[in-house]
């Protein structure tokens, strides 16, 4: 399984580098996930993510810095555990990116499988985005996450770990379809089982089906806290 995932990552990286043309954006994506226990099976998740663009332009043009506090996402999710390793989650996200907020509803099913030296997370999600004076967008997403300890066979408090997410997003809006691919390797540190910090890169590629590739490269900092 590990080998297959590595091959997938290498193939994706090769494909992406070969078509890496046209527009790009790069910047920082800090994120906080606060997970609160409501009962044995119900949880409340507060998620805040900010997107800070530090440069954007066209590939081939001279690189120019230009800071832009692009957007902030605030999400309130409710999660129902249906077994030790499976969850149903649904909720609402508000995007603050201009004069008027953008609304998004989210539904997801997730499953985590635990192996001898790694864990795999599968996330199947759908979301619906409603923006004033714009056509609604409907997306269907699948994300696979691989996590392995950098010391020992499982991640313990005080240890580093490696994680990589690969996600595909199928978007439909106004009769048009677009596919976005994301690849996000990260280095994580576990302070405790309920307190983890991750830093890495989130590489996103979209609009390549209609020949006008849009790429974005983010430095990610994610904090996962559970109380």
């Amino acid at each position: 399984m590990t080998k297959r995932l590595l091959i997938l990552i290498l193939v994706l990286a090769a494909v992406m580098s070969s078509i890496a043309q046209e527009s790009y954006r790069t910047g920082i994506l800090p994120q906080v996930n606060l997970n609160m226990k409501l009962s044995d099976n119900w949880r409340l998740v507060l998620r805040a993510e900010s997107r800070q663009v530090v440069a954007s332009g066209l590939f081939g043009d001279p690189f120019e810095f230009g800071y832009d506090n692009n957007l902030t996402d605030l999400a309130l999710l409710t999660s129902r555990r249906i077994s030790g390793t499976q969850n149903f989650t649904f909720g609402y996200q508000m995007r603050l990116a201009g004069e008027k907020p953008i609304h998004r509803t989210i539904q997801q099913y997730s499953l985590v499988s635990v192996h001898n030296s790694f864990r795999l997370g599968h996330r199947f999600a759908a979301d619906q985005t409603f923006e004033p004076e714009e056509t609604a967008e409907y997306r269907f997403r699948y994300r696979i996450s691989f996590e392995t300890a950098l010391s020992g066979q499982s991640v313990d408090p005080g240890e580093f770990y490696f994680k990589v997410n690969q996600e595909q997003l199928h978007g439909f809006s106004g009769g048009e379809y677009d596919l976005e691919l994301r690849l996000a390797p990260a280095l994580g540190f576990e302070f405790t089982d309920n307190n983890k910090l991750e830093a890495g890169f989130d590489n996103r590629f979209s609009s390549f089906l209609n020949g006008s590739l849009r790429s974005s490269f983010w430095l990610t900092i994610g904090w996962f806290i559970s109380i």
Binding site: V32, N33, N35, N69, T72, S110, D156, W223
Partner: protein, 195 residues
Amino acid sequence: MDKNKRWSIFTCLLLTLLSVSLTAQVKFEREYRIKPVDVPKTAVSFVDSAFRDIPVRWYMETSSEGKSIEAKLMRNRTLYSIEFDESGNLEDVEFEISAGDLPEKTLDAIRKWLGNRFSTFRLMKIQQQWTGSRHEIYGILTGKMDPDQYPARYEIVVRGKISGKTVWYEYLFSDSGEMLSEIPVVFKNTDNLVY
């Protein structure tokens, strides 16, 4: 100050406040890779002679209950774990098996016991376990003793339903199917794989 800037500052403040206020309790339990030179010679020589020419990974496990040393290796596509105490004394040998590898009578007794405990259940992982003297275990591992003549125990992870609620337990059964211990499985936090 525009709206985005305000939210940005809010996010930063939230991060800072949480970092200050978060003083989670830590249950000290850690497992990490160690080099063969850091393992007591008696443990290394046991594993090297029982599993000749097979690569071995050594781990140290520390917890509030003490330290133990574990060797992990693959033989004939089966994962073996050989556990020693800190001085290198053999504690047990475990290896993964499938339900079909269990003696029929043992499996029947285990299923019957679990059938009374859960409305429905599934065996998720089974490990055969041998405990005993170093000499006996060495004999079994090297084929000098018939393993069927030696009492085994079975560590089984079960997912089941009790009163409609899905629960996970780790059991230890004797080779006659008697339940020796029952421990609820506590899953590690999966937030960073789910959200």
